[in-house]
């Protein structure tokens, strides 16, 4: 079966330049860097697939490139290299600025991290949900109202709230508006960037159950970015672990969290706080991650923080290779080889 989404060798690099800064001294520091054409390797040679109806989690350290990756997939920015095959078409060939009008635009939708900030403050909840339906499905009149009502109902938003502006809604209600506007056009892939990070546990539970229900009702696929490994474990079929622009481990969520193969995943799992307070991890990542600016392509990105750190790790970048039971890992020393 061909996957719904097939991402191959995707990279995104940002030139290090002095954009927008008005401060003289800042500009001076940056012009130098720009002359040398330094680049931030935000996403580096990333490949993965998402099957129809599959929920895939994406986790990793702050700044490792998760948001950049999903923004490239949802065509909010242009990748530097690689392909984004969606159904049968390579979307990376469509420039980001043309994608808003593209025929496949409605098939991929995104829910942003801060629901409050991503909704136009001058739009009522109704307008916020109606906007993509109008633009992408070209509906109007009664058909539009019915579509908006249906999406709101699916997200548990009472109709009487639809006339309200964002500042008149609670955080949880705003999060639901963000999800309702994304599902109103019935996408096949929903990309969520930390949709519950700002919510308290009570609202979070409601949103997670809503996502699980919508998945069965509408048969959608999800790419779910989160810092909360307990949530990813509950919601996702598979998980991708990123470290400094690269996928270092992938596999079934439970297996990866129960028996992590990559040393970074091990540190990540060990750091998850637990209610019972058991196992306050002694395993800590020391030091800062390697700089993402012009990293050496032959050195493992985790070198320097990795407890193992052998000679081969700084002369040869470990590729993502297949391990047992549908798992993949990028480490010279990971067990579980196929």
């Amino acid at each position: 079966m061909t996957p719904l989404l097939d991402v191959a060798e995707l990279s995104k690099r940002f030139p290090v330049a002095a954009s927008g800064s008005t401060l003289k001294n800042l500009r001076r520091r940056f012009t130098r860097a720009a002359d040398e054409q330094s680049q931030v390797h935000a996403v580096d040679d990333v490949s993965f697939t998402i099957a129809k109806g599959e929920t895939v989690g994406l986790v990793g350290e702050s700044g490792c490139g998760k948001s950049t990756l999903v923004r490239a997939l949802t065509r909010l920015l242009d990748p530097t290299a690689g392909s984004i095959r969606f159904s049968t078409r390579d979307l990376s060939l469509v420039p980001a600025r043309d994608f808003a009008k593209d025929r496949d635009r409605g098939r991929i939708q995104m829910v942003f991290q801060d629901a409050g900030e991503s909704i136009n403050p001058r739009f009522t909840a109704f307008d916020a949900i109606a906007d993509p339906v109008r633009r992408l499905k070209h509906l109007s009149g009664l058909a539009l109202v019915e579509t908006v009502d249906k999406a709101a109902r699916q997200c548990g938003l009472p109709t009487e709230l639809l006339g309200r502006y964002p500042h008149q809604l609670s955080g949880g209600q705003r999060a639901r508006v963000g999800i309702a506007r994304a599902i109103a056009v019935e996408p096949e892939l929903l990309v969520l960037d930390e949709p519950t990070a700002a919510l308290d546990v009570s609202v979070q539970v409601v949103i997670l159950k809503l996502l699980a229900r919508l998945k069965t009702e509408l048969g959608m696929s999800y790419l779910f970015v989160s810092h909360d490994l307990s949530v990813v474990r509950l919601l996702c079929d598979r998980v991708l672990v990123m470290y400094l622009g690269k996928i270092v481990e992938a596999g079934p969520a439970r297996a990866v969290f129960d028996y992590p193969l990559h040393p970074y995943t091990r540190a990540l799992v060990a750091a998850v706080p637990r209610l019972d307070g058991i196992g306050l991890a002694k395993l800590r990542l020391s030091g800062e991650p390697m700089s993402p600016i012009d990293p050496d392509p032959n050195v493992c990105r985790f070198y320097g923080r990795c407890p193992r750190g052998a000679d081969i790790c700084r002369t040869q970048m470990p590729p993502l290779r297949r391990a047992a039971e549908g798992r993949e890992v990028a480490c010279h020393f990971a067990a579980g080889g196929a």
């Binding site: 702050s62 308290d200 209610l275």
Partner: protein, 321 residues
């Protein structure tokens, strides 16, 4: 709890005047933190965690007013103290870490200078020594190559590094009390663990008392000595961490635990908390502000609540679990 607490808060009440009525944001809030102890404050969004912190720091919104209560730190009541007494205490004796580090830092001043400013203002450090001491502090919070990083601007650092700088600033004057309002929200768990370690280490070394505000009960469970659970401006339960999580007494505490993803084997086993916080502008708020959501409500719940005495395990409930 130690015999003489570093901070004792008693009966703290705060109101906000708004166009649509008076918001009774805090009512009779009491708790104490011992030297070297970490107290977590948990509760749903809007339960009054930040307002408690702001009231102690003396940085409430102008619409807010402290209507009652005391907060005694080292013999001084922060609530009734004069402005000049407070100016001296704040920054030196109490420091706060805000939720969003990047916006709390000055964007156009190198981070090392910002730390040096605090050292000179509150730490009695002479101008010539301040820059070197700032570098020492950056090293103490685990920043590699601190001499070079001291010259960096906030936007040149990752979220986790900005948060460490905030901690370095907060700890610059060796405060007796640290208030950390969601210090790790939005950070990944490995960075979170490192930051919480740094706070714990400094608390252990200098006997600093820490108030740690969080949504994350699992994190509180792992890091705090005691937990205060707030609901709609009331302290509903206050107990030693292990006892509170293993045997919650207040029905609301039990609901919070059941909503924490860590405790669930599957999504179905997770329970959301029925209902929502009452509107704090209402004139007819019941004595127990949880009673309208509570599955264990009995007749007695309409009587005034037991007062938050500083008991070892306090629960504001007439029908506890």
């Amino acid at each position: 709890m130690t015999a003489v607490p570093a901070l004792a808060v008693e009966d703290l009440s705060v109101e906000f005047r708004t166009r649509s009525g008076v918001v009774k944001a805090l009512e009779h809030v009491s708790f104490a933190v011992g030297k070297g102890e970490t107290l977590a404050i948990v509760g749903e969004s809007g339960s009054g965690k930040s307002v408690t912190a702001y009231a102690l720091m003396g940085i409430l919104d102008p619409a807010g007013r402290i209507t009652a209560g005391r907060a005694v730190l080292g013999g001084l009541d922060l609530i009734s103290a004069s402005a000049s007494q407070l100016a001296d205490v704040r920054g030196r004796e109490i420091a706060m870490i805000f939720q969003n580090p990047r916006t709390a830092l000055n964007p156009i001043r190198p981070v090392g200078r910002q730390i040096a400013d605090v050292l000179m203002r509150h730490g009695n450090v002479p101008r010539v020594e301040a820059p070197a001491r700032a570098v020492d502090l950056l090293r103490a919070v685990g920043i590699t190559d601190p001499a070079r990083r001291a010259k960096a601007y906030p936007f040149e650092m990752s979220g986790g590094m900005c948060q460490r700088v905030m901690i370095a600033i907060a700890l610059a004057a060796r405060p007796a009390l640290l208030i950390a309002d969601e210090p790790t929200t939005g950070l990944d768990v490995t960075t979170q663990a490192v930051i919480m370690d740094i706070i714990a280490e400094l608390a252990g070394e200098s006997g600093m008392a820490t108030i740690f505000i969080t949504h994350d009960l699992a994190l509180a469970g792992q890091r705090a000595d005691r937990v205060v659970v707030m609901h709609a401006g009331h302290v509903v339960e206050n107990a030693a961490t292990r006892a509170l999580i293993a045997r919650p007494s207040h029905p609301y505490t039990a609901e919070l635990i059941a909503a924490t993803p860590d405790s669930a084997a599957s999504l179905d086993a997770l329970a959301s908390i029925p209902g929502s916080l009452p509107d704090l502008r209402r004139a007819d708020l019941p004595p127990c502000r949880y009673s309208e959501r509570c599955p264990r409500k009995v007749e007695r719940c309409d009587a005034p609540l037991p007062r938050p005495a500083l008991a070892e395990h306090f629960v504001a409930c007439w029908n506890p679990l």
